[in-house]
């Protein structure tokens, strides 16, 4: 079933081996393209890029600590209708999980893609990434990978991984056709490749890669990384819970929000084509503002800030994959991801759901059972 093989690394240059590997994938006759993070020729930033000419694979950089957007949305765009060719899509685990949510909402399809996942080393906030990469993307990616893979962590000088990455309990890709493993692997000599589906199996066998055993240290390396992240996450949950546990505190938490809705635009699982907050529904009659102001003596405008955030929690926290793009996109440094994840933990658990876990699990608000949740019905029903 699951084949484990290796991708050889020459001169300790694993980025070059990755590029060669994607080149060999692109040369398979049934693969028309590779979608992967690639350095833009005109600037020091890495963006999802669809490559069809192997010559253009130069600059492919899936390990750069750069995460400008959640590419699940990009893949959704590519797969909402038949593309007419198969594309190998290289995603971070949180991007894959967000894409799974979108497929369940019929905003994408698995039909014409091969999902490739790499062990995720994490990423910096956008603004931090620019400071980190400076003039040389490729050199900075090596610096970053060496630090993480040698056990020194993602913090380099004063630049640290984003809180979303530090709190992520899914650094190992799941639900992909195959994964490329780095943790617990001697990356100076080889990278690990492991198939997860028959499609993945088929590709590995056609690439003729030498089989190997999974290195004995891998499981342990992964477990200790996840334990570290989980501890960070639990601490983040506790702090955030404390920071918003009354309406007054929630209002303080969001006080510098300007209702720009960048957090919603950046969110891969905010799936509505038109958000109710940009429609006229809450574009109140001008006289209404005067009446509201009269009630308490004054009113802050834009109004509906807390309303927006709590509504967003109700509409999509069950689908939140914790990618952190909401925080990344906020111009005012509001810890949006922290808030959403802290609440999502409860809403997902209530429906025994985990965003991105499986294509088979229906989004909780899209289904119901006749016999459930009777504890919330009735006049004496009180649940905490």
């Amino acid at each position: 079933m699951a084949t484990t093989a290796k991708i050889g690394v020459k001169d300790q240059d694993f980025l070059a081996s990755l590029r060669d590997f994607f080149r060999s994938i692109l040369q398979l006759e049934d693969i028309s393209g590779v979608l992967a993070p690639k350095k833009l020729p005109m600037k020091n930033i890495v963006m999802p890029t669809l490559v069809t000419d192997p010559e253009n694979l130069e600059g492919i950089d899936p390990l750069a600590p750069c995460f400008p957007l959640n590419a699940a949305k990009v893949v959704s765009r590519l797969t909402r209708k038949p593309m007419g060719g198969k594309v190998a899509v290289v995603l971070r685990p949180c991007e894959t999980r967000a894409f799974i949510e979108l497929v369940k909402l019929k905003q994408g399809s698995m039909e014409e893609i091969v999902l490739v996942g790499l062990d995720c080393l994490g990423a910096y906030k956008n603004t931090d990434y620019f400071r980190f990469a400076k003039e040389n993307v490729t050199e900075s990616t090596y610096r970053f990978c060496k630090s993480v893979l040698s056990g020194n962590g993602g913090r380099i000088e004063d630049i640290d991984l984003s809180p979303a990455c530090k709190a992520c309990e899914f650094p190992i890709p799941d639900n992909t056709d195959f994964l490329i493993g780095l943790f617990g692997v001697d990356t100076n000599d080889h990278l690990l490749i492991q198939s997860k589906t028959t499609a993945g199996d088929d590709i590995i066998s056609r690439l003729d890669l030498p089989e190997m055993e999974e290195p004995p240290d891998r499981q342990e390396a992964v477990a200790s990384l996840i334990a570290e992240h989980t501890a960070f996450r639990d601490n983040m949950f506790a702090e955030t819970r404390e920071a918003v546990d009354s309406l007054e505190k929630m209002t303080t938490y969001l006080a510098n929000c300007v209702n720009c809705y960048n957090c919603r635009v950046a969110c891969p699982v905010c799936y509505c084509k038109e958000c109710v907050f940009v429609t006229d529904v809450f574009n109140h009659d001008p006289s209404q503002y005067l009446r509201w102001a009269d009630r308490k003596g004054s009113i802050k405008i834009p109004t509906d800030t807390v309303f927006y955030h709590i509504t967003r929690l109700a509409h999509m926290s069950t689908a939140c994959v914790g990618c952190g793009q909401c925080s990344n996109a906020c111009p005012n440094d509001i810890p949006v991801m922290e808030l959403i994840r802290t609440v999502a933990q409860h809403t997902q658990k209530a429906f025994d759901y985990e965003a991105g876990r499986s294509l088979e699990e229906d989004p909780p608000l899209s289904v119901f059972r006749e016999d459930e949740f009777d504890d919330v019905v009735g006049i004496s029903a009180v649940i905490a």
């Binding site: 929630m250 209002t251 609440v343 409860h346 608000l365 006749e370 949740f373 006049i379």
Partner: protein, 140 residues
């Protein structure tokens, strides 16, 4: 606090609970004036945003009430409503809203007496709980 009169917003479905309210009225049953009814076609159309908005505007209690399971005129709207109430009961208490402030009941079209009883109960419970924080504090 003695003279605190809670405001209760009740989203009631046209086919069952609203009909029950109507029946209570035509039967001259007395129920407290704290309850403001909002008639909707079905509990299945009560998006969480309406409930959140009402709380943030200072409603002390919110009731969603519709047909008994199996009786929804749109077949399953009430089951969907139950999931949304479950969802909100996970979310709202995180921000200090007492879960008791949000209720879901099934009141059939002929249950005029039950309707009046539930409204009395609810008003008494909300009065005992005291005012919703949103009424007293600045909400942005």
């Amino acid at each position: 606090m003695e003279d605190f009169e809670p405001v209760i917003i009740a989203f009631v479905c046209n086919w069952c609970t609203y009909t029950a309210a109507d029946l209570a009225g035509t039967s001259r049953l007395i129920y407290p004036q704290n309850v403001r009814l909002i008639r909707v076609m079905c509990t299945g159309m009560v998006d969480p945003q309406y409930i959140i908005k009402a709380f943030l505007e200072g409603a002390d209690g919110i009731l969603v009430s519709g047909c008994h399971p199996g009786d929804c005129h749109y077949i399953n709207g009430n089951y969907k409503a139950r999931r949304r109430i479950k969802l909100l009961k996970e979310i709202l208490p995180q921000f200090g809203f007492e879960p008791e402030r949000l209720r879901l009941t099934w009141i059939g079209a002929s249950d005029g007496i039950i309707f009046a009883e539930i409204m009395r109960d609810l008003a008494a419970q909300m009065k005992a709980l005291g005012p919703n924080e949103a009424k007293l504090k600045m909400v942005i």
